[in-house]
Protein backbone atom coordinates (compact mmCIF):
# COMPACT_ATOMS: atom_id res chain seq x y z
CA UNK A 1 0.00 0.00 0.00
CA UNK A 2 1.51 3.29 -1.09
CA UNK A 3 0.93 6.18 1.28
CA UNK A 4 -0.77 9.35 0.10
CA UNK A 5 2.16 11.52 1.19
CA UNK A 6 4.51 9.44 -0.99
CA UNK A 7 2.32 10.07 -4.03
CA UNK A 8 2.22 13.79 -3.18
CA UNK A 9 6.03 13.93 -2.96
CA UNK A 10 6.32 12.09 -6.29
CA UNK A 11 3.95 14.56 -7.96
CA UNK A 12 5.85 17.55 -6.57
CA UNK A 13 9.20 16.12 -7.69
CA UNK A 14 7.91 15.28 -11.17
CA UNK A 15 6.31 18.71 -11.58
CA UNK A 16 9.61 20.29 -10.62
CA UNK A 17 11.43 18.15 -13.20
CA UNK A 18 8.99 19.23 -15.90
CA UNK A 19 9.58 22.83 -14.89
CA UNK A 20 13.37 22.59 -15.01
CA UNK A 21 13.60 20.58 -18.24
CA UNK A 22 10.90 22.62 -20.05
CA UNK A 23 9.53 19.51 -21.77
CA UNK A 24 5.87 20.50 -22.18
CA UNK A 25 4.28 22.76 -24.75
CA UNK A 26 3.07 25.83 -22.83
CA UNK A 27 5.44 28.64 -21.83
CA UNK A 28 7.60 28.23 -24.97
CA UNK A 29 8.73 24.68 -24.14
CA UNK A 30 8.90 21.77 -26.61
CA UNK A 31 7.47 18.31 -25.97
CA UNK A 32 9.91 15.40 -25.58
CA UNK A 33 8.71 11.99 -24.37
CA UNK A 34 12.19 10.66 -23.49
CA UNK A 35 12.59 13.47 -20.98
CA UNK A 36 9.20 12.65 -19.47
CA UNK A 37 10.20 9.00 -18.93
CA UNK A 38 13.62 9.90 -17.52
CA UNK A 39 11.92 12.46 -15.29
CA UNK A 40 9.52 9.84 -13.91
CA UNK A 41 12.45 7.52 -13.08
CA UNK A 42 14.38 10.34 -11.39
CA UNK A 43 11.29 11.49 -9.46
CA UNK A 44 10.72 7.92 -8.26
CA UNK A 45 14.32 7.62 -7.00
CA UNK A 46 14.15 11.01 -5.29
CA UNK A 47 10.84 10.11 -3.70
CA UNK A 48 12.16 6.82 -2.33
CA UNK A 49 15.07 8.66 -0.71
CA UNK A 50 13.31 11.75 0.63
CA UNK A 51 9.62 10.92 1.13
CA UNK A 52 9.76 11.44 4.90
CA UNK A 53 11.46 14.84 4.65
CA UNK A 54 9.09 16.95 2.57
CA UNK A 55 5.75 15.92 4.08
CA UNK A 56 6.13 14.68 7.65
CA UNK A 57 2.45 14.15 8.36
CA UNK A 58 2.79 15.78 11.79
CA UNK A 59 1.11 19.02 10.79
CA UNK A 60 -2.64 19.45 10.81
CA UNK A 61 -4.81 22.16 9.24
CA UNK A 62 -2.11 22.56 6.60
CA UNK A 63 -4.30 24.45 4.14
CA UNK A 64 -5.26 27.15 6.61
CA UNK A 65 -1.64 27.56 7.73
CA UNK A 66 -0.49 27.83 4.12
CA UNK A 67 -3.09 30.53 3.50
CA UNK A 68 -1.99 32.47 6.58
CA UNK A 69 1.65 32.06 5.55
CA UNK A 70 0.81 33.58 2.16
CA UNK A 71 -0.65 36.59 3.97
CA UNK A 72 2.46 36.81 6.16
CA UNK A 73 4.93 36.84 3.25
CA UNK A 74 4.13 40.37 1.88
CA UNK A 75 4.62 41.89 5.35
CA UNK A 76 7.90 39.97 5.63
CA UNK A 77 9.05 41.24 2.20
CA UNK A 78 8.34 44.82 3.27
CA UNK A 79 10.35 44.22 6.45
CA UNK A 80 13.25 42.93 4.33
CA UNK A 81 13.22 46.13 2.24
CA UNK A 82 13.21 48.21 5.45
CA UNK A 83 16.06 46.08 6.82
CA UNK A 84 18.16 46.73 3.75
CA UNK A 85 17.63 50.48 3.86
CA UNK A 86 18.50 50.33 7.57
CA UNK A 87 21.76 48.47 6.94
CA UNK A 88 22.64 50.66 3.96
CA UNK A 89 22.05 53.79 6.11
CA UNK A 90 24.20 52.49 8.97
CA UNK A 91 26.98 51.42 6.63
CA UNK A 92 27.12 54.54 4.47
CA UNK A 93 26.72 57.01 7.38
CA UNK A 94 30.12 58.59 8.12
CA UNK A 95 29.94 57.89 11.88
CA UNK A 96 28.39 54.40 11.61
CA UNK A 97 25.63 54.53 14.27
CA UNK A 98 25.96 50.98 15.58
CA UNK A 99 25.78 49.63 19.14
CA UNK A 100 25.79 45.81 18.99
CA UNK A 101 24.35 43.69 21.78
CA UNK A 102 23.19 40.12 22.34
CA UNK A 103 19.69 39.51 23.64
CA UNK A 104 17.70 36.46 24.73
CA UNK A 105 13.96 35.96 24.76
CA UNK A 106 11.43 33.15 25.11
CA UNK A 107 8.55 32.44 22.77
CA UNK A 108 5.53 30.18 22.96
CA UNK A 109 6.39 28.56 19.62
CA UNK A 110 7.32 24.85 19.63
CA UNK A 111 6.85 23.31 16.15
CA UNK A 112 9.78 23.04 13.74
CA UNK A 113 8.15 25.07 10.97
CA UNK A 114 7.20 27.92 13.29
CA UNK A 115 10.67 28.11 14.86
CA UNK A 116 12.38 28.02 11.46
CA UNK A 117 10.10 30.72 10.08
CA UNK A 118 10.69 33.00 13.05
CA UNK A 119 14.46 32.40 12.99
CA UNK A 120 14.68 33.21 9.27
CA UNK A 121 12.40 36.23 9.70
CA UNK A 122 14.58 37.59 12.51
CA UNK A 123 17.68 37.20 10.36
CA UNK A 124 16.09 39.05 7.46
CA UNK A 125 14.45 41.92 9.36
CA UNK A 126 16.06 45.18 10.52
CA UNK A 127 19.20 44.92 12.61
CA UNK A 128 18.90 41.41 14.06
CA UNK A 129 20.38 37.96 13.33
CA UNK A 130 19.47 34.71 15.08
CA UNK A 131 22.45 33.02 16.73
CA UNK A 132 20.78 30.00 18.30
CA UNK A 133 17.37 28.46 19.01
CA UNK A 134 16.48 26.06 21.81
CA UNK A 135 13.44 24.20 20.50
CA UNK A 136 12.37 22.76 23.87
CA UNK A 137 11.77 26.14 25.49
CA UNK A 138 11.35 28.21 22.34
CA UNK A 139 14.28 30.36 23.44
CA UNK A 140 16.03 32.58 20.90
CA UNK A 141 19.53 34.03 21.13
CA UNK A 142 19.76 37.09 18.88
CA UNK A 143 22.55 39.46 17.89
CA UNK A 144 21.26 43.00 17.39
CA UNK A 145 23.21 45.75 15.65
CA UNK A 146 21.54 48.52 17.71
CA UNK A 147 19.45 48.57 20.87
CA UNK A 148 16.49 50.02 18.98
CA UNK A 149 16.37 46.93 16.77
CA UNK A 150 16.45 44.73 19.88
CA UNK A 151 13.48 46.57 21.38
CA UNK A 152 11.32 45.57 18.42
CA UNK A 153 11.75 41.94 19.43
CA UNK A 154 11.80 42.38 23.23
CA UNK A 155 9.06 44.99 23.72
CA UNK A 156 6.75 45.07 20.71
CA UNK A 157 6.93 41.34 19.82
CA UNK A 158 5.02 42.01 16.60
CA UNK A 159 6.88 39.32 14.73
CA UNK A 160 6.43 36.60 17.38
CA UNK A 161 2.69 37.26 17.46
CA UNK A 162 2.44 37.19 13.67
CA UNK A 163 4.31 33.88 13.38
CA UNK A 164 2.27 32.40 16.26
CA UNK A 165 -0.87 33.48 14.43
CA UNK A 166 0.31 31.85 11.19
CA UNK A 167 1.04 28.49 12.83
CA UNK A 168 -1.89 28.75 15.27
CA UNK A 169 0.24 28.26 18.36
CA UNK A 170 -0.64 29.70 21.75
CA UNK A 171 -0.05 33.41 22.22
CA UNK A 172 -1.27 34.27 18.71
CA UNK A 173 -4.54 35.64 17.49
CA UNK A 174 -4.62 38.94 19.35
Amino acid sequence: MIKRSTVAVFIVMFAFWVLLSACIKPLQGHYDHIRIVVGMICAAITTSVSRDLLITGKENMTLRKTFRLLLYIPWELWQIVLANFDVAYRVLHPKMPIDPCIIEFDTTLRSDFALTTLANSITLTPGTITIDVEPERGRFLVHAIASKAADALLVDQTMQNKVAHVYMEEGGGE
Partner: protein
Protein backbone atom coordinates in the same frame (compact mmCIF):
# COMPACT_ATOMS: atom_id res chain seq x y z
CA UNK B 1 13.20 55.42 -29.54
CA UNK B 2 16.54 53.54 -29.18
CA UNK B 3 14.49 50.32 -29.01
CA UNK B 4 13.95 50.56 -25.24
CA UNK B 5 10.51 49.50 -24.06
CA UNK B 6 8.69 49.87 -20.75
CA UNK B 7 9.68 46.37 -19.55
CA UNK B 8 13.33 47.15 -20.23
CA UNK B 9 13.13 50.31 -18.12
CA UNK B 10 11.42 48.47 -15.25
CA UNK B 11 14.00 45.68 -15.33
CA UNK B 12 16.82 48.25 -15.40
CA UNK B 13 15.33 49.94 -12.31
CA UNK B 14 15.19 46.59 -10.47
CA UNK B 15 18.76 45.71 -11.45
CA UNK B 16 20.04 49.15 -10.43
CA UNK B 17 18.39 48.68 -7.02
CA UNK B 18 20.08 45.30 -6.75
CA UNK B 19 23.46 46.79 -7.60
CA UNK B 20 22.94 49.55 -4.98
CA UNK B 21 22.25 47.04 -2.21
CA UNK B 22 25.11 44.75 -3.25
CA UNK B 23 27.50 47.72 -3.16
CA UNK B 24 26.12 48.74 0.26
CA UNK B 25 26.76 45.19 1.46
CA UNK B 26 30.32 45.24 0.15
CA UNK B 27 31.00 48.64 1.76
CA UNK B 28 29.60 47.26 5.01
CA UNK B 29 31.88 44.24 4.78
CA UNK B 30 34.85 46.59 4.60
CA UNK B 31 33.75 49.30 7.06
CA UNK B 32 32.04 47.51 9.95
CA UNK B 33 34.23 46.65 12.95
CA UNK B 34 33.84 42.91 13.62
CA UNK B 35 32.65 39.56 12.34
CA UNK B 36 29.07 39.72 13.65
CA UNK B 37 28.30 43.21 12.38
CA UNK B 38 29.81 42.34 9.00
CA UNK B 39 27.40 39.44 8.75
CA UNK B 40 24.58 41.95 9.25
CA UNK B 41 25.70 43.75 6.10
CA UNK B 42 26.29 40.68 3.94
CA UNK B 43 23.39 38.56 5.17
CA UNK B 44 20.73 41.17 4.51
CA UNK B 45 22.00 43.22 1.60
CA UNK B 46 23.06 40.19 -0.44
CA UNK B 47 19.63 38.60 -0.12
CA UNK B 48 17.70 41.61 -1.37
CA UNK B 49 20.39 42.56 -3.90
CA UNK B 50 20.32 39.14 -5.55
CA UNK B 51 16.54 38.98 -5.44
CA UNK B 52 16.18 42.41 -7.08
CA UNK B 53 18.66 41.49 -9.83
CA UNK B 54 16.89 38.20 -10.54
CA UNK B 55 13.52 39.98 -10.55
CA UNK B 56 14.97 42.36 -13.13
CA UNK B 57 16.05 39.39 -15.24
CA UNK B 58 12.58 37.86 -14.89
CA UNK B 59 10.88 41.03 -16.12
CA UNK B 60 13.38 41.30 -18.98
CA UNK B 61 12.81 37.67 -19.98
CA UNK B 62 9.02 37.84 -19.99
CA UNK B 63 6.62 34.95 -19.52
CA UNK B 64 8.58 31.75 -20.22
CA UNK B 65 10.15 28.72 -18.52
CA UNK B 66 13.30 30.70 -17.85
CA UNK B 67 11.49 33.23 -15.68
CA UNK B 68 9.73 30.43 -13.77
CA UNK B 69 13.15 28.91 -13.06
CA UNK B 70 14.39 32.32 -11.93
CA UNK B 71 11.38 32.58 -9.62
CA UNK B 72 12.38 29.30 -7.98
CA UNK B 73 15.91 30.67 -7.67
CA UNK B 74 14.49 33.61 -5.67
CA UNK B 75 12.54 31.18 -3.50
CA UNK B 76 15.62 29.11 -2.70
CA UNK B 77 17.75 32.19 -2.02
CA UNK B 78 15.14 33.37 0.48
CA UNK B 79 15.21 30.00 2.18
CA UNK B 80 18.96 29.36 2.11
CA UNK B 81 20.56 32.77 2.70
CA UNK B 82 19.27 33.39 6.26
CA UNK B 83 20.04 29.78 7.20
CA UNK B 84 23.62 30.15 5.96
CA UNK B 85 24.08 33.46 7.82
CA UNK B 86 22.66 31.89 10.96
CA UNK B 87 24.95 28.84 10.67
CA UNK B 88 28.10 30.99 10.33
CA UNK B 89 26.94 33.18 13.24
CA UNK B 90 26.28 30.18 15.49
CA UNK B 91 29.66 28.63 14.66
CA UNK B 92 31.44 31.91 15.52
CA UNK B 93 29.47 32.34 18.75
CA UNK B 94 30.19 28.85 20.08
CA UNK B 95 33.86 29.05 19.09
CA UNK B 96 34.06 31.88 21.61
CA UNK B 97 34.49 34.94 19.40
CA UNK B 98 33.61 37.97 21.54
CA UNK B 99 31.20 40.47 19.98
CA UNK B 100 32.43 44.00 19.41
CA UNK B 101 31.11 46.59 21.87
CA UNK B 102 30.64 50.30 21.26
CA UNK B 103 33.82 52.29 21.93
CA UNK B 104 36.30 49.51 21.21
CA UNK B 105 38.81 49.74 18.39
CA UNK B 106 38.53 47.88 15.12
CA UNK B 107 39.46 44.23 15.03
Amino acid sequence: MFGIGVTDIISIIFMAGGVFFMVAGAVGLLRLPDFYTRLHATGKCDTLGEVLMITGCMIFQGWSFVSVKLFFLIFFIFMANPVGTHAIMKAAYYTGLKPWKKGEGRR
